[in-house]
């Protein structure tokens, strides 16, 4: 699904003070592309992603998804859109502690009205894609940080979303787990998944095919990554071997 961002402005009001965080961003994200958004801390990367992913309302401008202006969507429509069309991976994995891996992944599927057996089957399939088929019945507390993040990726992709949003998905992970996450993103992209990923690590940005650099709320560069420079992360199991 293509996303068109038109003259996007986001400002925050704190009493009389107005902070303009996004100062007019216009760009398009192509269907099936893997885009990295980079920039210094405080540049506005997360804010930008929240506007694109319908987690927040822009102050000015518009975000157009599937040809529809999101300014014209009701809250309920936005929630439904997030549930059915988008997938989210946050810096915090935010898994429900009392649900097992497979139950956590099945939850949004149940919310979409899938029968229980079908939801659990899809959840198992998603966990298999992130190489967690051996940990289906484990609680989050029994999993490592990297494994928990992979569960949250499985939760984000189980319903085959049009767009996968990831905000610093590797920020809390060690090197090896981070590489594992990037390997999964690479595979998902190969399978046609649209991915928009915020990161402050240039190396991981090179897993994407396009890098957008933000600074102080404006796009300062927007470049394709030449195929030769694109970094592939091997299956962590293969790397170890």
């Amino acid at each position: 699904m293509a996303i068109d961002v038109k003259n996007l402005v986001k400002s925050f009001h704190d009493g009389d003070r107005v902070t303009r965080v996004l100062k007019g961003i216009t760009l398009s994200i192509d269907d099936g592309s893997f885009v990295a958004i980079i920039g210094r801390s405080g540049a506005g990367k997360s804010t930008f992603m929240y506007q694109m992913s319908l987690l927040d309302e822009p102050s000015e401008g518009d975000v157009i998804v599937e040809g529809r202006s999101t300014n014209e969507m009701t809250n309920a429509e936005e929630t439904k859109f997030r549930l059915e069309k988008f997938g989210y991976v946050f810096q915090d994995y935010a898994l429900v502690p009392e649900l097992t891996a497979v139950e956590n992944v099945a939850l949004p599927l149940l919310m979409q009205g899938l029968p229980r057996e079908r939801a659990l089957a899809d959840a198992r399939a998603a966990l298999t894609r992130v190489n967690l088929e051996a940990h289906l019945a484990q609680l989050p507390s029994q999993l490592s940080g990297g494994e928990q993040q992979r569960v949250s990726i499985a939760r984000a992709i189980a319903h085959l979303p049009k767009v996968l949003f990831a905000d610093e998905p590797t920020a809390n992970l060690d090197r090896e787990s981070s590489d594992g996450v990037m390997h999964i993103f690479g595979e998902l992209h190969d399978a046609g998944q649209t991915i928009i990923m915020v990161t402050h690590e240039l190396e991981y940005a090179h897993a994407a095919e396009r890098i957008i650099r933000l600074d102080d709320g404006v796009v300062v560069s927007d470049e394709r990554v030449p195929a030769t420079e694109r970094k592939r992360y091997p299956h962590p199991g293969l790397q170890a071997a």
């Binding site: 929240y50 987690l55 898994l95 149940l110 919310m111 984000a156």
Partner: protein, 421 residues
């Protein structure tokens, strides 16, 4: 459809949250619910039971299920023998006792004249004449003979005396109107019984030992032929006919039947409930109110407990509640998850409470009433009242779970995810 999905997801979350919560947390909350339930049901039940104990005493020892008694403007029940044989012939009737009842006095220590300024050792009493065997079959009164022996049909000059009339048993006896307790009265002691203008010396055969509120407490009882002699009554007109009916009989309908049969013209027909002194019913109402007041406090405590538990649970999970909302789980489903959790606690607490109340407390105290000076208390927990209390607890808990969940869930999704206010 959307609503059903919310319920489904809410239930899915709630069930697992409770199942995988720490055993201690679950035990503690269920325990609070249990105590609240017991507080709601048992406190009122004991208080009402206390009064019910008195009511039961009146029914068992005096009124029976239906009491036929003398009309206000009459001295006795006209056509008594006809009424008795008619009532006995009715299929519902299991038991019947006819009694002669008159006001009189009983005097002890009459051989030694009172010192100057002292009043005779004399008390007002209700003088009752019964057929000893029939009365015992009806009210099991012989079980209450604490000293001496029960009456038998051929007894001459023998009486039973109630405990309020005897100084060593009298429970605040001297404070009661018309009662002044007798000294030195034991089985074998001679007492003077006066009815109207007739006085007769009789011998105490037994002393009844009952609770203060027993209708037997201030009675003097003798075989009916003795009282009839004392009264000089030649006909067989009695003052009271107490009737027991088979269990399950509608006593109100039965009383109406008796009235309609013509007995109403000669006597007053009342169910046990109607015949019991008005004060008892009032006290019952007061005690029930006190029980409900205490119960309400318990309910507030339960509500606050659940509120705090859910509030803390939700606020510490605010971030991932935000994320769940972010990924499209509806706020309603998350709120329902907390409501269902609260309901589970309330229902499990109530279920254990029900088992304790009906499986143990009610049958146990029914068989072994709590012996209190004013009555033998049982626990009164009618199913309808208990159901209402369970409902009250469940509704309160559901609200107490919903409110804090709502407070947290309705916060802006992104603010929750980012931990902003």
């Amino acid at each position: 459809m959307h609503f059903l999905t919310n319920i489904r997801v809410g239930w899915y979350l709630a069930l697992r949250q409770v199942r995988r919560a720490s055993v201690w947390t679950n035990t503690l909350i269920v325990f609070v619910m249990l105590l609240t339930f017991l507080n709601l049901v048992v406190v009122t039940g004991v208080l009402v039971g206390l009064v019910q104990g008195i009511t039961n005493l009146y029914r068992e020892q005096e009124t029976g299920d239906v009491l036929i008694s003398t009309l206000a403007n009459q001295t006795d029940i006209s056509h008594s023998p006809d009424i008795i044989s008619f009532v006995k012939s009715l299929p519902q009737v299991t038991d019947l006792s006819a009694r002669y009842v008159v006001g009189g006095t009983i005097e002890a220590n009459y051989q030694t004249p009172p010192a100057p300024g002292e009043t005779p050792n004399e008390s007002a009493a209700s003088i009752v004449g019964v057929d000893p065997a029939t009365e015992n079959a009806f009210s099991h009164i012989s079980a209450f003979v604490g000293e001496g022996q029960y009456l038998s049909a051929g007894d001459y000059d023998a009486v039973l005396v109630g405990p309020q009339l005897i100084d060593r048993y009298s429970f605040g006896g001297d404070l009661l109107p018309n009662i002044s307790a007798l000294h030195n009265v034991y089985p074998g002691t001679k007492v003077r019984i006066t009815v109207g203008t007739t006085t007769r010396v009789m011998t105490v055969k037994g002393i009844l030992v009952t609770t203060a509120n027993s209708p037997l407490a201030s009675k003097v009882i003798m075989p009916e032929n003795e009282l009839r002699t004392l009264l000089g009554r030649n006909d067989y007109a009695v003052n009271q006919i107490a009737v027991n009916v088979a269990p399950g009989t509608d006593t109100t309908a039965f009383a109406n039947l008796l009235r309609a049969s013509g007995i109403g013209a000669d006597a007053k027909v009342q169910t046990a409930q109607e015949a019991i002194p008005a004060g008892v019913a009032e006290v019952e109402g007061t005690f029930a109110s006190i029980g409900n007041a205490i119960g309400s406090i318990g309910l507030v405590v339960a509500a606050v407990t659940i509120f705090i538990v859910i509030f803390i649970n939700a606020i510490t999970r605010r971030k991932f509640i935000g994320i769940l909302k972010g990924i499209g789980i509806s706020g309603e489903a998350i709120e329902l998850a907390y409501v269902f959790q609260s309901l589970m606690y309330a229902l499990v607490g109530s279920a254990i409470g029900l088992a304790i109340v009906y499986g143990f407390l009610v049958p146990y105290f029914g068989a072994h009433p709590i012996k209190l000076p004013i009555s033998d208390a049982v626990i009164v927990a009618p199913v309808s009242g208990t159901a209402l209390r369970v409902l009250l607890l469940v509704v309160t808990t559901a609200i107490a779970g919903y409110v804090p969940a709502r407070l947290i869930v309705r916060k802006n999704t992104l603010d929750s995810i980012l931990g902003r206010n």
